[in-house]
Amino acid sequence: MKMVAAIVRPEMFNSVRAALEADGIYGMTVTEVMGRGAQKGIALRFRGKVMPVELIPKVKIEMVVPDADVDKVIRVIRENGRTGKPGDGRIFVLPVESICRVRTDQIDPADP
């Protein structure tokens, strides 16, 4: 099992989500985050103090999938989350040691 964690543009999230569903990837956990990456920083000023706040809203999608699906998931995210401009995001793959449901007692690594 792997956890694929993708940071994507909020605007592209819905097409990514729909495309994953079309490809049979259903389970996901989504978080609204702020991120900075390649884009240049922007310096802000509030009530007389400089505050460099160059964090921009992003959406983080976490999907735990069988090893075999990792490449497919990455491909789908890239194809549907891409605008070609800086800020499209990153995908990280992390190892997962085990996985289970809360609802039932069986630990079922084959059914994420």
């Binding site: 543009r9 884009q39 922007i42 706040v53």
Partner: protein
């Protein structure tokens, strides 16, 4: 002579209409993406502040100064000279204040067309030109003794002056500034629906001041305007809700949009029709505006927050409905349904001219500002959002 009851009423109505401007800001702010929420609220405030100053300097006089060829007012009241604490029914200064908050609101509505992509400096310039060249003449035509008034066009509280004009101006502006990056493809869900509903609630509340206050007296006509306003809003809300229900789920944004559609449509009619007429006016307005919105989306037009569909089209429908439902017992004039088809014709002429004028002049102003200083932020700024790019602020997750 100043009457204390009428004065009390219009003073408070003026404050209530003022509250509509942040109401528009909150409503719009809830509908855009999170990264532009502050920007939308700020634009409403800036619009209001700019117009407040322009109005006392020259706007009031252009609208309500002595008529020049039916087109514009003279500058005799520039700097509010000669506008004093006395008056007929209400103090002249209060009349100027009441009209001021209408002008401010109109410009705030126009921001719909440039949501999430306008450069704030260009908005300041555009806004000053728009209120001077579009709003002030329109106000003069309808209420300052201009040609529309002379023709007998009915506009009780600003259906053409405020709503048709701001709706079609938003459309012109949207065409000039162009679509948002990714419009059509990218998801652009509203970031904060409760905030939009709060904004809508403030609009509904303030609209009582807008419509009933337009009686300029605390009398039976104001009472009539008040109740028809509420009935039309309710009918519009329920009609849009049902229409949306037929097509899917009855969303709260559809409901509040329908209420606003009903409020827009009853605006020109509020002093000319009774409560029973307000039901069809409000309900049909809800359906008309919903249809206009669907049409806009289908056509891929990025008039982003639907000022055109709701204020523009709702305003046209309201102007025509006034020409149909008006009854002499209430406002002294009959409409089509009471045997006076000519009134409908006058309304059509008025609406058509206002549509053409506001669309055309706004288009020209927008083109000019765009040529001189650029209307739109850079692509990078649009990406990070106007809150950060234009205001240096941001809404926390």
């Amino acid at each position: 002579m100043v009457d204390s009851g009428d004065t009390a009423f219009i003073l408070i109505c003026t404050a209530m209409v003022m509250l509509m401007t942040p109401g528009v800001g909150l409503f719009y702010g809830g509908l855009v993406r999170r990264k532009n929420l502050i920007s939308m609220i700020a634009l409403a405030f800036i619009a209001f502040a700019l117009v407040s100053i322009q109005w006392v300097l020259c706007g009031y006089s252009l609208a309500f100064g002595t008529d020049i060829h039916g087109l514009i007012g003279s500058l005799e009241y520039a700097f509010l000279q000669g506008v004093g604490m006395g008056g007929d029914g209400i103090p002249d200064l209060l009349f100027a204040a009441f009209q001021m908050v209408f002008a401010g609101l109109a410009l705030a509505i126009v921001t719909s067309g440039v949501a999430e992509r306008i450069k704030i400096s260009s908005f300041v310039v555009f806004g000053l030109l728009w209120t001077t060249l579009v709003y002030d003449p329109l106000a003069h035509w309808a209420w300052g003794g201009g040609w529309a008034a002379q023709l007998g066009a009915l506009d009780f509280a600003g259906g053409t002056v405020v709503h048709i004009s701001s709706g079609f101006s938003a459309l012109a502006l949207a065409l000039v500034i162009g679509k948002r990056l990714g419009f059509g493809g990218h998801g652009m869900e509203p970031n904060n629906i409760p905030l939009a509903l709060l904004g809508g609630a403030l609009l509904w509340f303030g609209w009582f001041g807008f419509n009933a206050g337009s009686a300029l007296a605390a009398d039976g006509l104001a009472a009539n305007a008040f109740i028809v306003t509420n009935v039309a809003a309710a009918a519009g809300a329920l009609a849009w809700l049902c229409a949306a229900w037929v097509r899917g789920r009855p969303g709260s944004l559809g409901m509040i949009s329908g209420a606003i559609a009903g409020l827009v449509a009853i605006t020109p009619a509020a002093g000319f029709v009774g409560p029973m007429a307000a039901i069809p006016i409000g309900a049909v307005a809800g359906l008309v505006c919903y249809g206009a919105l669907l049409f806009r989306v289908r056509r891929g037009l990025d008039e982003s927050l639907d000022a055109w569909a709701i204020h523009g089209m709702g305003g046209i429908f309201g102007a025509l409905a006034t020409g149909m439902f008006a009854v002499a017992a209430i406002g002294g004039v009959n409409g089509l349904f009471y045997g006076n088809p000519e009134q409908l014709l006058i309304q059509v002429v008025d609406a058509v001219v206002v549509v053409a004028y506001s669309f055309g002049v706004t288009f020209a102003i927008a083109k000019a500002v765009d040529a001189v200083m650029g209307l739109r932020v850079t692509e990078e700024e649009e990406y990070v959002g106007l809150d950060i790019a234009q205001h240096g602020e941001s809404v926390r997750v």
